[in-house]
Each structure stands twice: as C-alpha cells, then as structure tokens.
Amino acid sequence: MNEFLKLHIVKWFEKGKRYDGRSLDEFRPVVVEYGVTKNAEGSARVKIGDTEVIAGVKLSVEKPYPDTPKDGNLMVGAELLPLSSPDYEAGPPNEESIEVARVVDRGLRESKAIDTKKLCLIEGEKVWMIAIDICTINSDGNLLDAAALAAVAAVQDARFPEYDGKVVNYKKLTDKKLPIARLPLSITVMKIGDYLFVDPSIEEEKVVDSRLTVALAQDGKICAMQKGGDAPVAIDDIGRMIELATVKAAELMARLKR
C-alpha cells in the first residue's frame, strides 16, 4: 500500500509540487500562540497546518546535579497523547515520543539557549529546574518541528513565580523572564529519492526514505542534528539538507515574538 502512496507522491514531486498543492520547500500555515494555559509558568500553542501541540513550562526549586552544582536543571518531556492520533496508544513513552523529547532537549541544551548559571540559587544546594512538557493535540505530520517551536515559545513566555527562599508561590508570577541567551529552532528536512522537502504531511512521513533534523541557533550555527529514516544519505545530501533547513529556520523565526 505504501509503495503506491510513494509512487503517487513522487509523481507530484516530478512536477515540482506536493499532492496537497504545496511546493517542496513550503510549510503549511504556522501559527504560534503564547500563554495558552494559566497554571503553567509559561506556555504556547503551535499549529502547523492541522498539526497542533501545546508546550508548558513548570518551574521548581531542586537540588542541582552533582556534576553541575552551579547550573539550573533543564528537562524536556513529550507526550504523544492517544487523543491526537489513531496510531498512538496510552502507556509509557515509546521510541517516537522519546526521540521528540530528546531532539528538542538537545536543540535547547546545546545551543545554550538558556543561561543555566543564572538559575543557581545556592551553589550545590538549590537551583531552578525548568521542566518543559510538550503535549500533542492533533498529530498530522512534522511533530518534531512543531514540538521544537512550541518549546522555544513556551520558554519565551515563562515568568518566574515568587520564591521566598523556602516555598515557591505558584499563585504569584513575577515579571522576571527566564535567562534566554539565544533561540534555537529545529527544521526537519525529508528525503524521498533525490527530492528534498520540508513539513511533511502524515502520508509523506510514512514513505520517506530518510530525514535530517537540524537545530540551528540564531547566529546560523548548527547546535544539534538527528538523522532518521531507514535509508542512508550521501555527504552532499547532508549539505543540501542543512542549507534548506537554514532558509526555513529563518522563516519560522519570524513567527516568534522578539
């Protein structure tokens, strides 16, 4: 069945189009909304076409990890909720949700998006922990990019709650934002045959040969990558994929609040 789907998709590619009318390097409409849930310290909703995810930030005061006593903690979780797709099941995180969480995590961590030194309260004792959770509402292709975008937007939206040295008062948010140093964005470039394209529909995702997720910092430096799909890729292809990702990252960056 997938073979026929693939033939169909490639036939359109030959005409420079996708079967839904888009060109190969065209995203579906992207919408970012800030502050979508009141109990989180920061939150955002991202829609890419019919794909919809919500990311929320919860802040708490915890003990730092022993190897980084002066740094705050960062944690990214992704829940591919069974509500959002007939293909997802309830239960512990599976490979797909762990990949989404880890790829988003690496993009944020390795770009040094958040200045974790500024999250230290008492060295070796107390630091702020930033927990970012991404939940899917409708899973209709390109979750990786939607999740990464939502996570960054939620971090932008977050405010510290009041903290008196003992208890965090979640009812009172201060005006203080998280120490954001730069914003990373992830773009996943898909490959079928020799064709490269972005923002796959769920059908295109099913038949893709390979994909490369590239996380880029604002200055154009690459901060994380993840190759997926069953087929190997040539070094030249990697170069082309990164070029396409760079162009698209600049486009998505324009959707974010400055």
């Binding site: 979508v36 849930t37 009141k38 109990n39 989180a40 939150s43 019919d50 919809e52 919500i54 929320g56 930030v57 919860k58 708490s60 979780g77 829940e79 909720l81 069974p82 509500l83 959002s84 797709s85 007939p86 309830a90 512990p92 927990a131 959770d133 939940c135 509402i137 409708n138 899973s139 209709d140 979640y170 009812k171």
Partner: protein
C-alpha cells in the same frame, strides 16, 4: 463562618462561563473542547475499532474505554508527573460508568470505543468537564446514543449550597465543604455519576442535587448547540476534504 458571597461574585446557582466546541481534533473520529471557567477539557473518540489485547474483547457487546489525564503543566501547584495516578485511574473508571448508559454498544461486539480526555488547564470540576466534552465527542463521532450526559459539581461551601465550585471554594477553610460531582442523563433525569467528599446534611444534599439537575439542563443546551454548530459548518468542510474523516 458564613460564606455568603462567592469568591468570583457568582450567584449560588450560577455556572462559570462555558465554551463548548465539537470537532476540534481532526484525526479523531469525534472530538470536543469544553471549557468551564478556567477548567479546559479536550475529548477525542476513536472507534468502534478492534480491541487489543484480544482477551479483552467482549463477544456480547462493545467496550467503552476511558482515559482521563491531566497534562503535566495543567495543575495549580507542582508539575503533574506523566503516566497516570491512582486518582486519574479512578476518574477514568467513574467517567466510563457515567457515559456507558447512553451508548448502544451491543451493536459492536468485540470492538472498543476509546475516549481520551486531556486537561491542559484545571481549576476544579475536571471530571465533570471531561464528561461534558466526552459526550459531545461521542455524538460527534456519530455513535448511536440514547442521550448525551451533562455533568457539574455541586456542593456546600460553609453555609452556602452552590453549583460548579472552583478551586478556591473547594479548598475553603473557614467552614465545612462538600464537593459532589454529579452527571445527569437529561431526558430521564437519572444520575450516572455521583461522588462526594466533605460534610453535608441530608436536606442540603437534596437541595444541592436539585440545583445540579437544573444546572445540567443548561449545560445540556450548550452541548447540543456545540453539535449543531459543528454540523452546520461541516457540510462545506467535507466537500473539499475527502481524504480525512
């Protein structure tokens, strides 16, 4: 000691503002969003579909399977650990029992109807909001039903009998609080969910339940309106969009 004015200025029998929308999750067979005050519930229905693992299949009738879940960032205090708790398991179960009486599952032996309820934002009354959303979603999925189910919490805060308690009222400390989530099948007036915690006298309980029945009648109208709006607009949607449900 007296609680004579509600924290948000509502009358005792006044519901928080409600927004209901059907068909909000495209990949689901049926879906809905139900917001009451600051509590937001999404519900998605998948099925009737094959039941796995197979030993759970019932050859007599289809099975209703509900999963209630709070998103990690939805609560007023600490992060809610993902993966379910004793509380969410119990709520899933009572929600299942609340919805079951209106479904005709004997038409679908061996199959399962999955209902997933997710809460991105909570301020008390989450199971009731979940039930309201799930009812709309089941109807949106086109399942044959005897009726919808409408649900609200009622209770007593200090000396006041009130409907649709918010979190501040649930945690009122200067007097007794009774929190009673109820669900009604509006056409018959039967109760399909009843839980309670707190303290209340028998006379007040009767009055609270009656108040709940009337409030549910209002919620019922909002649920029906959400469905009507959905199917008023879906005529155009379906004509341009053949590949998805």
């Amino acid at each position: 000691m007296g609680y004579d004015k509600r924290v948000d200025g509502r009358k005792p029998d006044e519901l928080r503002p409600i927004v209901a929308k059907a068909g909000v999750i495209k990949r689901a067979d049926g879906s809905a969003m139900f917001q009451i005050g600051n509590t937001v519930a999404y519900a998605a229905v998948y099925g009737p579909r094959d039941m796995f693992p197979r030993f759970l299949q019932n050859p007599q009738r289809g099975t209703l399977r509900v999963r209630y879940n709070m998103m990690p960032f939805s609560g007023a205090g600490d992060r809610v650990k993902p993966g379910g708790s004793r509380r969410s398991k119990e709520i899933s179960m009572v929600t299942e029992k609340a919805l079951l009486p209106v479904l005709n599952l004997e038409d679908f032996p061996n199959a399962v109807v999955d209902v997933f309820i997710e809460l991105p934002q909570t301020d008390a009354g989450t199971r009731c909001a979940g039930i309201c959303a799930a009812s709309i979603a089941l109807a949106d999925a086109g399942l044959s039903m005897k009726d919808m189910v409408s649900s609200v919490s009622v209770g007593k805060v200090g000396s006041m009998i009130a409907v649709d308690l918010n979190y501040a009222e649930e945690s009122y400390e200067e007097g007794d609080v009774a929190d009673i989530p109820v669900a009604f099948i509006p056409r018959t007036g039967h109760v399909s969910l009843l839980q309670m915690d707190g303290l209340i006298d028998k006379e007040s309980l009767k009055r609270a339940l009656e108040m709940g029945r009337k409030a549910c009648a209002r919620i019922y109208e909002i649920q029906k309106k959400a469905l009507k709006e959905r199917f008023a607009s879906s005529v155009e949607v379906n004509s341009t969009d053949g590949n998805n449900k």
